[in-house]
């Protein structure tokens, strides 16, 4: 039967919490932390990732490596860490793979649900704020080491520019003007971006420094995967502009890396 009582809310998370709490591991995580023993939080070990975003003159590039790690083992070589959210935004995740994927999926559904019920897109600022609540609702899990830290980027149609938001474990939201990188290789990627970034760079320049930053991160950080020329696995790159979110084709990414390697 159709339940028309929920008419007023455009918040999918609220509806799931009330009607299907079993589908949300995250919202129950505060119970989990009170009953379970809390191990020594070793959050870093779960962040085997490098994801980053760079603002350029027509929008923003968002990218991520493809490797998931289990301790010292490679868990997965082709995992996706960057997910388009709506026509003008994307989320990249670092942290424990399961909760990360769940958060990205829930966030995408939430934004689309809002758009369809309200008949207009949720503003980029609104999306960034909502993501803050999602991260905070994962705090219980985060305390047990199952942390999810997203990087959020999009093209702000009102302000006519690309924007980047980073988060801390309690849902704190911080805007970055130029670029940012998170995950275990985040610091290494940021070092490259810091040296190579200049304001108002072109799309091609942005793609090049993103590829190089991911290369350096993979070079320094064992938990970040580099381009795999044998298996043909390459980092995923997306551009977000006024026209929308577009994935850079794999052949183009391969070219970027072949060019980069030839310069080394």
């Amino acid at each position: 039967m159709l339940d028309l009582d929920d008419y007023g809310t455009s918040d999918f998370l609220q509806i799931l919490k009330r009607r299907h709490p079993e589908l949300l591991a995250m919202s129950n995580s505060s119970d989990a932390v009170s009953s379970a023993h809390t191990p020594e939080p070793s959050l870093r070990s779960y962040e085997g990732t490098t994801v980053l975003a760079v603002v350029y003159n027509a929008g923003v590039v968002m990218a991520g490596d493809r490797q998931a790690t289990e301790g010292y083992q490679v868990g997965e070589r082709r995992i996706q860490k960057v997910y388009p959210v709506d026509r003008h935004s994307a989320i990249a995740v670092a942290g424990a793979a399961g909760p990360c994927i769940e958060m990205a999926k829930l966030f995408q559904v939430e934004v689309e649900f809002y758009e369809k019920t309200e008949g207009m897109s949720l503003s980029l600022e609104g999306q960034a704020n909502f993501l803050s609540h999602l991260v905070r609702s994962n705090l219980g899990f985060a305390m047990q080491g199952l942390i999810v830290l997203p990087l959020f980027a999009g093209y702000d149609l009102k302000r006519q520019r690309g924007r980047i938001f980073k988060y801390d474990a309690v849902g704190g939201r911080y805007e970055e003007d130029d670029y940012y990188a998170i995950g275990s290789g985040g610091k290494d990627a940021r070092a490259t971006l810091k040296k190579r970034y200049t304001p108002e760079i072109t799309r091609q320049e942005a793609l090049e420094i993103v590829a190089e930053a991911l290369w350096d991160a993979a070079d320094e950080d064992i938990a970040t995967g580099g381009p795999d020329l044998i298996r043909k696995i390459f980092p995923t790159l997306y551009t977000i502009t006024e026209e929308g979110v577009a994935e850079i084709p794999e052949v183009t990414v391969e070219e970027l890396y072949r060019e980069l390697i030839s310069r080394l």
């Binding site: 039967m1 159709l2 339940d3 028309l4 929920d6 008419y7 999918f12 509806i15 799931l16 009607r19 299907h20 589908l23 999926k105 829930l106 559904v109 689309e112 649900f113 369809k116 019920t117 008949g119």
Partner: protein, 244 residues
């Protein structure tokens, strides 16, 4: 104690149907028509923000004739149930057939309740077919379900019409419809049909790109197949259709 009146079930049903018919006969029409790349949906609706056609889920759209407020509640409920199902299982598991059953059960229950007014609304639940043979739904065709106020539904083929003059419009479409139309030709067919019907009435109402609402489900699109056409896009198609 007084003896309650006996009213036969047939009478109750007839009364409710008469009540709904009075409302629906005043409702402007919505046409859903199969064209080369999917389903084209056109409504006579000069308003710019109150829509009669809307996106429900990836491949599914909903069109209605009747009371906007009642449509609105059903629309949002449909999106909600679809998103829940898609989140719980998989996006492809959300189908027009399933959604039609949900609407049908709800509208039937309301129509049968002794203390509730039946919904003064008719629905078209549409799902665009797929060219992708790897999907697990097993259904490749476009689907159109017509749900009446009492929840009784039927599956339509090629095109379907709801609203006051649905019968007349269907008769005209029967004569003029051909398979595999381009979108502009399909739009032209529908608008000319609207115009023919309007010409029969007393008032000289003219159909223009400003007085219609147009949306489509295209199987060529990415995940979200629904697209609402702006007045500019409709004008361009209109010119294209006129030059055919």
């Amino acid at each position: 104690m007084s003896t309650p009146y006996y009213v036969s079930p047939e009478q109750i049903r007839q009364d409710k149907e008469d009540f709904v018919r009075r409302g629906i006969t005043q409702a402007k029409e919505v046409v859903v028509l199969e064209f080369r790349d999917g389903l084209l949906m056109v409504a006579e609706n000069p308003r710019k923000t109150t829509f009669k056609i809307s996106e429900i889920y990836d491949r599914i759209a909903l069109a209605a004739a009747g009371r906007i407020a009642e449509y609105e509640a059903l629309r949002v409920a449909g999106i909600r149930e679809s998103e829940i199902k898609g989140f719980r299982y998989y996006r492809e598991d959300v189908t027009a057939k399933w959604l039609t059953n949900l609407y049908s059960q709800h509208m039937g229950a309301v129509a049968q309740a002794w203390d509730a007014k039946p919904l003064e609304i008719e629905l078209l639940v549409c799902e665009v077919g797929t060219t992708d043979t790897s999907t697990n739904s097993g259904i490749q065709r476009n689907q159109i379900y017509h749900v009446a106020f009492d929840g009784i539904y039927s599956e339509e083929e090629k095109y379907a019409v709801i609203g006051g003059r649905a019968t007349t419009i269907t008769e005209i479409l029967e004569q003029n419809y051909t398979d595999g139309l381009e979108m502009s030709a399909a739009l032209r067919l529908i608008t000319e049909t609207f115009q023919t019907v309007e010409a029969d009435t007393e008032n000289d109402y003219e159909i223009t790109p400003e007085t219609i609402e147009v949306a489509c489900l295209e199987h060529t699109a990415e995940r979200r197949k629904f697209r609402r056409l702006s007045t500019d896009e409709v004008s361009n198609l209109w010119r294209l259709g006129a030059s055919l």
